[in-house]
């Protein structure tokens, strides 16, 4: 085990029953070389200040619960090594662009509503009986959408997106990427049901391509790619339906 070092962790605190707006609190934490920011927060909660609130679960970059701003960047705190910041101070804040509920905990309601709106599940016009077996798919068909299915709903992309910060009606990167994931799925027939959300003004056309959503995505989902692909596909389909109104509009 390597020697312990001490790092300053400044946390944005918000206790709604005590204060009207957030304040800062700094802790000094002794850490080991393999500690991540989440370890430091857990250390603070367990040994220094039990009132600190934050959200976490798996500690291995899968659940998407521990997303926070670390020195101004949206990060999964379970993947942000303290040694990368040492000897400088680490500043931890709740994800920006979301209302703060308490300390580092944000209100996800808006994101959950938008996620539900794009219907991120397989839609069939008519389900075939179970006796007819699975809906088969080739490796190439899987490849079409697999990357977009890696989203863990951590919301870092929403915190990175200034468009979402300024225009809260924007459906946002993750929800569009997940809608796109199902639109690309060969087993799905729900494209038309998602289009009025995804291809609306509040959907892909609100995006002005800052691109930061893809930069911060811890799973390399690349929501900006999903949005740009959907813009091209939507425009192409619109043109096709004008030129060939008798054609298949799916």
């Amino acid at each position: 085990m390597s020697d312990l070092r001490t790092i300053k962790i400044t946390v944005l605190r918000y206790r709604p029953e005590e204060e009207d707006e957030p304040t800062e609190q700094t802790y000094e934490v002794e850490f080991r070389d393999d500690w991540v920011v989440l370890d430091a927060l857990n250390h603070i909660k367990d040994h220094i200040d039990g009132t600190l609130s934050f959200r976490w679960s798996c500690r291995m970059g899968v659940c998407g619960s521990c997303g926070m701003m670390v020195n101004g960047e949206p990060k999964l705190t379970c993947a942000a090594m303290l040694r990368d910041y040492y000897p400088n101070e680490v500043r931890v804040e709740p994800l920006v662009n979301f209302p703060i509920v308490r300390d580092l905990v944000t209100d996800m309601t808006d994101f959950m509503d938008k996620l539900k709106a794009v219907k991120p599940w397989i839609i069939r016009e008519e389900e075939k009986p179970v006796s007819e077996g699975e809906y088969l798919q080739t490796p190439d068909q899987l490849k079409d959408y697999k990357q977009f299915s890696q989203c863990i709903n951590c919301m870092l992309c929403y915190a990175a997106c200034p468009v979402y910060g300024l225009e809260h009606d924007f459906v946002g990167p993750a929800a569009i990427a997940l809608g796109h994931r199902y639109n690309l799925d060969s087993r799905d027939e729900g494209n038309q049901q998602r289009q009025h959300i995804i291809a609306s003004k509040e959907g892909i056309w609100e995006c002005t391509y800052v691109g930061e959503c893809s930069v911060v995505c811890p799973k390399h989902v690349d929501p900006a790619e999903a949005i740009q692909q959907t813009k091209v596909a939507t425009t192409t389909n619109r043109l096709k339906s004008l030129v060939m109104p008798w054609g298949n509009k799916k």
Binding site: Y14, P16, E17, D20, E21, P22, R55, M69, N71, G72, E73, E93, V96, P99, I100, V101, V105, T106, D107, M108, T109, M112, D140, K143, D144, Y145, Q147, P162, G165, L166, L184, T208, Y209, V210, G211, E212, V215, D222, A224, E225, Q228, Q229, K231, V232, A233, T236
Partner: protein, 144 residues
């Protein structure tokens, strides 16, 4: 976490108008470059206004048009044209660079059979078409 917004006192942090320079205490180069790209439109629009005005002067006779063209050769206009050119190049370059986004390796929109055309070919095609169009327009302007 789903909340009852009527009983929970949440706090929403405001966004500064200068978020692209300093977003809640931190500078993000990509935000700055994004806003710069948006700003390019202003210079392109001003250039177009100048161009339309120049076309309008053609209706006022050759003398008025020649006088205006002469004034365009002054220092401030040359500086403006240089800035507008740089911004137009920056905007075109970044805009055409987006073609690689719709054509990511293995799952792009442009396909030959079942195989996706590598993004580099789509990007080269876009930049190539841009270069050819620029050369054609330049040729027409310089020779006509």
């Amino acid at each position: 976490m789903m909340l009852d917004s009527e009983t929970t006192k949440t706090y929403t942090r405001p966004i500064s108008k200068a978020w692209w320079l300093r977003d809640r205490g931190y500078f993000n180069r990509r935000y700055f470059m994004f806003l710069l790209r948006e700003l390019t439109s202003v210079f392109v629009a001003l250039y177009v206004v100048l161009f339309i005005y120049e076309l309008f002067l053609l209706t006022k006779g050759q003398e008025a048009h020649a006088a205006f063209q002469e004034s365009l050769r002054s220092g401030p206009f040359i500086v403006f044209f240089l800035i507008a050119l740089l911004f137009a190049l920056y905007h075109s370059w970044t805009w055409l660079g987006l073609t690689t986004k719709m054509q990511a390796a293995g799952r792009g929109l442009v396909k030959i059979g079942t195989k996706t055309l590598p993004p580099i070919f789509v990007a080269l095609g876009s930049y190539g078409a841009w270069l050819v169009a620029t050369c054609v327009i330049a040729y027409l302007f310089l020779t006509l």
